[in-house]
Every structure is written in C-alpha cells, then in structure tokens.
Symmetry: C2
Subunit: 243 residues, 2 copies
C-alpha cells in the first residue's frame, strides 16, 4: 500500500543519491491511477503521450508491432519501473506498451516531471539512469537473441526476470510472477511456439525451472545462469543480489 511517489523514490534511490529537496519534489507529483486488463494496451506505436507511466503492480511489456501483424516483445517491467520514460523527450512512440496479466499503473503528467528536472537536476539524472539501464537491457537482448542457442536464450530470459524481481523484493521463495504465454515467450526470443514448448520441457526435465500458471520457479540458479550465460552486470544494480 505504498504510495506511488514512495515507489518511485525508492526505485531511484537504488542507484542515485537524492537529497531531501529532491524527494520533496517527487512527493509532489500528482497521479492518476489506471488499471489495465490482461493484454490491454497502455500506449500504441505512434502515440504522443503527455503523461509518463509508473508500474505499481503486475507486469507490462514493450513491443514492436510487425508488418505481418506479429509482435516482437522488447522488455518487461515490474513495480517501480517507468516503461515509457522515453516519451518525456521523444514525442512519437516507436513501440507499444501493454499489460502482461493485469497491471496497475499510475500516470504522471510530463509537464510536472520536466519542471522537476529543471529545478532538481539530480532527479533528472536519476530518471536518466533508469532509461540508460533500459538501454543496457535492450543491448543484452540483442546479444541474447542473436548468437545464443534457443535453450540459452530462454534460460537467460528467465534469469533476468527472476533476478530483477528478486532485486525488487517481488519473489516468494524461489518463485516470481511471469504471466507470459508460450506464444509470447516465442515472440520475445524469436522462436517458434513448438520450439518454445520443447525447450521449456528440456529446462524442466533438467530440473532448472518450473513454469506454470504464469509463475516462474527457479530450481537451480547456478546451472540456470550458466545455461543462459547470465552475468547481471548489465543490470547496473548497486547491491548485487546473492541467489
């Protein structure tokens, strides 16, 4: 039941030193709640938003809409993330944002945020850092989807999701939410559904993970990380998480 501003502030404080004045500015943001149904779009490609969204609960994804009607999922976002921060400075959305499962969002007017950046540059730098970490995640996805085997891709994706959830205190034992369908996993990793299914089974059989009902359970972190060539440095988290 933390307030939106606290969620945002605590996310930014993970990597940025914010003073009392900075936090005070953040606490003055107004916000409008928005509940998203499973699969619902928050923003579409081509939109020109005048608010920025903060994830309060659930998961949202960014995706490219392809010419043939398919999707390429680009990244996934959880509580505390700002999945469309780029809209603060790039007018036109080059991708869409949708809910994966149900999600609760909070919308903050761009104008307020930009004003804050002018008055308290440190707040701007902190949000900038967030967008730079997003970029690092995109880069990692390039590497993941280009060179690696299907099994490694999938292992890497699971590692990233679990590691980030863990870092945000959103796990429950060895289990976190990841309410993707197998089709969506395919649209993330660039693999056919049949292959997704078989690769999942292989990972299950190897006792690395469980994945059912939109929940991911990591059963053998060291081997999963090895399988996915996962090195969390790219997430730029200050406090490295021990799993």
């Amino acid at each position: 039941m933390t307030s939106p501003n606290e969620v945002l502030a605590s996310k930014l404080k993970e990597h940025s030193r914010l003073g009392a004045e900075d936090l005070a500015e953040i606490s003055r943001f107004s916000h409008q709640r928005r509940q998203l149904a499973a699969g619902e779009d928050l923003i579409r490609q081509g939109d020109r938003p005048d608010v920025a969204a903060l994830v309060m609960s659930g998961m949202v994804a960014r995706y490219h809409l392809l010419k043939n009607g398919g999707r390429q999922y680009l990244s996934f976002h959880i509580r505390g993330d700002l999945p469309d921060a780029q809209s603060l400075f790039l007018e036109r959305m080059d991708h869409a944002v949708c809910a994966i499962g149900e999600a609760e969002m909070v919308l903050i007017p761009h104008a307020q945020i930009r004003k804050t950046f002018e008055r308290r540059p440190m707040v701007g730098f902190a949000v900038w850092r967030e967008t730079l970490i997003d970029a690092a995640i995109f880069r990692e996805a390039i590497t993941n989807n280009s060179g690696r085997s299907m099994r490694a891709r999938m292992a890497h994706l699971f590692c990233e999701i679990f590691y980030r959830a863990r870092n945000n205190g959103l796990i429950d034992g060895n289990t976190c939410d990841f309410p993707l369908s197998q089709t969506q996993i395919g649209e993330t990793l660039g693999m056919a559904i049949a292959t997704v299914n078989r690769t999942l089974q292989a990972l299950r059989r190897a006792r690395l993970i469980e994945f059912k009902g939109g929940r991911l359970t990591v059963k053998d972190w060291p081997r999963l990380a090895a399988n996915g060539d996962f090195d969390p440095h790219y997430l730029h988290l200050k406090r490295a998480v021990r799993i």
Copy 2:
C-alpha cells in the same frame, strides 16, 4: 574542419531547441583529441571512464564481448554521435567501444558536462534525447535479429547505416562509408560468415546494393527498404530524409 563543439551543437540542434546560453556552455567544453587505429578499442567492458567521447570522423562500434571470445556488435556511430554518453551516469561499462576503420575522437570530461547539465537543463535534455534514440536503435536491432530472415536483416542494417549517414550529410551520391568486414557483419546480425557472403551476393545480384572496400552503395533504395522492412520512424529524426 568544424570544431568539436560545433559538431556536437549541430547534432543536438537536430532535435532540440537550444538557446544562446546553452550553445555558449557547449562551446566552452575542453577536449582532447584521440586518434584510433582501425579496430582499436576506445573503451573496454568493465572500464569506468571519466570522459565522454564524441565521434569527429570515421566510425566506431559498440560491442559485447562473449564468453567464447567472440563479439556481438550492437550499434555503429558516426560523426556527431556520443557513443558512450551512458558513462555519464552509469559507472561501469557493460560493453566496449572500438573503431571500425580509423576514427578521430574528441574526449570531454564528465565533470564539465554534468556541470553544464545542472546550469543548462536543456543541454542535458538534448543529450538525454541522444541516448534515448540510441535505445530506440537497440530495440530495432532486437526486432531485426530475432524475427527476420537473413536477407531482411542485412537489408535493414544497410538501410539504417545509409539513412543515418545521409541524414548527417556523410554520403557521396548513393555511397557511404561502412568499413566492416564480412565477419563483423556476421557478428552484428548473428549469422555465420558463409551466410553473410552468400546473402551479400544475393543482394548484389538483385541490384539492391554494392558493398566493397568498406563502402556501401545503395542502388535501389525503395526495394532495399522493402526487403529490410525499414521504417525510419525509430530513428526519431525531425526532418525525414527523402531518398
């Protein structure tokens, strides 16, 4: 023979409105020149730079170093680009930057740049925009390397390079510099060298491009763009270029 500060200012002015004060601040940046030999690293994964680099001439690339010693190239940068702007706010480099062919760089101390951002937020917003456009390019690379056929990937890469060169006034008729080896194209698009070679020949035979001696010639832009599913919106360039 334009000065570094003019190169930077004119790049930022492409998308951001900068006032006289902003430009004056930029013009006060000190810089140190650095000449890179072909293939030389400017920054390595794990480094913690205290300067930011501006490309003055030539081309540099960002890449991930893989466990097996291979590389995954992530993006290419030309005159006016800031290929390591992220180092302003993320301490540790999660990827490396190297020269593709020879390149001339200019190094500007982080401290100066950050000071400028505090005094003139608009300058910060402009550089932020640059990093956001980088992120959009990464996203597009995810889509390119995940779903599309090898031929489409290659066509798309050529489109992007040519379009950006054209936008920066760095083309010569229908030809621009792109001094990659076929091996490096493979390490960009996630394809084996043999396939790179054969795909290149296919594009040549179809009279879409010429690619020789580190120069790329576009012989049929509309068909090349169609082959690569290329839609330049993601580059977020204000003035759309007609080719």
